[in-house]
């Protein structure tokens, strides 16, 4: 997460209007999720990967590492969809027997699993595009324009700010515990961890009071109002997004179900 945050502030699409980037990411995600063809999400993924690597300048290694993260979850989910249980061998492309029951894969299930796999990766790549090109606060400013309640947005931005301080505090407490052999044995690790959380809680509580005092000293009256960064709008980007989405939808219609198996 911290790594993503570092890359996002250095990415080359930082100056592009956050609403345009959010629009592209969300519309493409919808196109992936409604797709009945396995090719559409793959095309979307290639497009997003291209934008992330070549346009935003995110290192290929880091991006591919990120893409591998959801694979584990995906594979487990896929297995449960692809394999089914039956007592008749008919319909199975491949099967084996455990006791009296047959476990195997059917063409229909395989197609379903393949479609789910490509949809998921397509949608994840869209989210990564947003996460790697648009800082949190700008996503929040887009949400503000979409009339999301101010309370949620204020909480989001405060949490985002204080996550880093929390992690810093946790790291320094951990270092000071380790330097006093707090994590040598399993037992002492458990004890140190519980003390770490206790200390963190106290610190967070104290800091939240200090922050409230400091806000009050600057005339806080129950609502956080601030200036937000202005971005130039580009009609070209909107046209680009619309063309991309229409192409994806047309692809989907033209290619139809696009079956791999059977």
């Amino acid at each position: 997460m911290i790594n993503i945050d570092q890359y996002v502030y250095a990415n080359k699409l930082l100056a592009v209007h956050p609403a345009e980037k959010s629009f592209l990411a969300l519309a493409t995600m919808v196109a992936c999720l409604i797709s009945t063809s396995i090719y559409t999400p793959i095309i979307a993924m290639v497009l997003m990967a291209g934008l992330i690597i070549f346009k935003a300048g995110i290192p290929v290694k880091f991006f591919s590492h990120l893409m591998l993260l959801p694979i584990t979850f995906l594979v487990i989910g896929e297995l449960t969809i692809a394999f089914s249980i039956s007592d008749q061998p008919g319909g199975f492309l491949y099967h084996f027997a455990v006791g009296g029951t047959l476990i195997g894969v059917t063409a229909q299930d395989l197609n379903k699993a393949a479609l789910l796999f490509s949809r998921s990766l397509g949608a994840v790549s869209c989210l990564y595009f947003l996460a790697l090109t648009t800082p949190m606060l700008e996503i929040i400013s887009v949400l503000r324009r979409l009339k999301v309640p101010a309370l949620f947005l204020e909480l989001m931005s405060l949490i985002y700010r204080f996550i880093f301080i929390l992690l810093d505090s946790a790291a320094s407490i951990h270092t000071s515990q380790s330097s006093r052999l707090g994590y040598v044995t399993l037992k002492s690790s458990f004890r140190s961890t519980s003390q770490l959380f206790y200390a963190l809680f106290i610190r967070s509580f104290q800091r939240s009071q200090a922050v409230a005092t400091a806000l009050e000293a600057r005339c806080y009256q129950g609502e956080i109002r601030v200036l937000e960064k202005k971005f130039p709008r580009s009609m070209r980007n909107y046209v680009f997004v619309i063309v991309v989405e229409m192409t994806l939808v047309l692809f989907n219609l033209y290619l139809g179900g696009g079956k791999f198996f059977g």
Binding site: D5, Q6, Y9, P135, M136, L137, S157, L158, Y160, R161, F164, I165, R207, A210, V211, T213, A214, L215, E216, A217, R218, C219, Y220, Q221, I224, R225, V226, L227, E228, K229
Partner: protein, 283 residues
């Protein structure tokens, strides 16, 4: 003498657990003065400061701003908080936003200014603290010194008349401390009234017009730096040290390098000069 801008009269305050934080504190600050409040940790400096812009209300006594008792309600309180800004010790407890622009614009936005006005205040404050180039940087990627500057810009953007700095040089390295003192000098030249709390007796001695020494919620003594630091008993009672200039000066008199009548130097240059003079007279 200039107008008394801020005044605490016999204020008393105790914390929820019953500890007395302030005991009959009196303090008068004149417009344009450079005030240093000295005292060890827990002497009540921060608690006193929180009374000056109405965050805390005294149990007894009163706080006056420009001769009038301060009001703890609505628009008047907001006006007071605009006129009296506090820069807190730990910038991580003051900076609430992950964006420098959002952070600095928070104060002026609360004053109900137009967007263009707010923008002007922010730009001016960032320029004064030399942080204009940080406007697009996220707060959590700034160095400690940069965060400190942004926390000062926070307050400057509200264009206060009195600025209170709580332990401003704590945790700053010598370079950043020096740059901070330059910002203080500039603010002082613009006619702002400045109050700092510190344990750094050398800084207080050379910089301040007037010192207050606090201990356990009381003001032990007040006066010009050279007067205050001549009262060694009080300085010791407040768990403070003597500034090296004062100590060296007295030591030089004791071993006969300087005549007993020579006046206390305010800067090291003044000390070297009087040594020089004595040497030349002998020669």
């Amino acid at each position: 003498m200039a107008e008394t801008i801020l005044e605490a009269e016999d204020i008393e305050y105790s914390y929820a657990d019953g500890t007395k934080a302030l005991r009959k504190v009196n303090m008068a600050v004149h417009r344009g003065e450079k005030i240093a409040v000295l005292g060890s940790n827990g002497a009540g400096k921060t608690t006193l400061f929180l009374h000056f812009n109405g965050i805390l209300q005294p149990e007894r006594g009163r706080v006056r701003f420009r001769g009038q008792d301060i009001s703890y309600k609505g628009a008047k309180l907001m006006e007071l908080r605009r006129k009296i800004g506090i820069v807190f010790q730990d910038p991580d407890s003051q900076l609430f936003s992950a964006s420098v622009l959002q952070e600095v614009s928070f104060g002026p936005m609360n004053l109900g200014l137009s967007e263009a006005e707010v923008r002007r205040c922010v730009d001016k404050a960032l320029q004064a603290t030399e942080t204009s180039d940080l406007i697009d940087r996220p707060t959590h990627m700034l160095s400690f010194g940069q965060k400190k500057r942004v926390s000062i810009a926070d307050i400057l953007a509200m264009e206060p008349e009195v600025i209170i700095f709580d332990e401003p040089t704590a945790w700053l390295d010598p370079r950043h401390a020096r740059e901070f003192m330059q910002i203080l000098d500039e603010l002082s030249q613009q006619g702002k009234t400045i109050i700092i709390s510190t344990h750094d007796v050398d800084l207080a001695y050379s910089w301040a017009d007037k010192l207050f020494v606090m201990k356990q919620g009381q003001v032990l003594t007040e006066g010009k730096p050279e007067e205050v630091f001549c009262r060694q008993d009080v300085i010791r009672a407040a768990d403070l040290n003597l500034p090296w200039l004062v100590e060296t000066h007295f030591e030089f008199i004791r071993i006969g390098l300087l005549p007993p009548s020579s006046c206390l130097p305010r800067t090291k240059e003044e000390l070297y000069e009087s040594l020089d003079r004595v040497q030349r007279n002998i020669g």
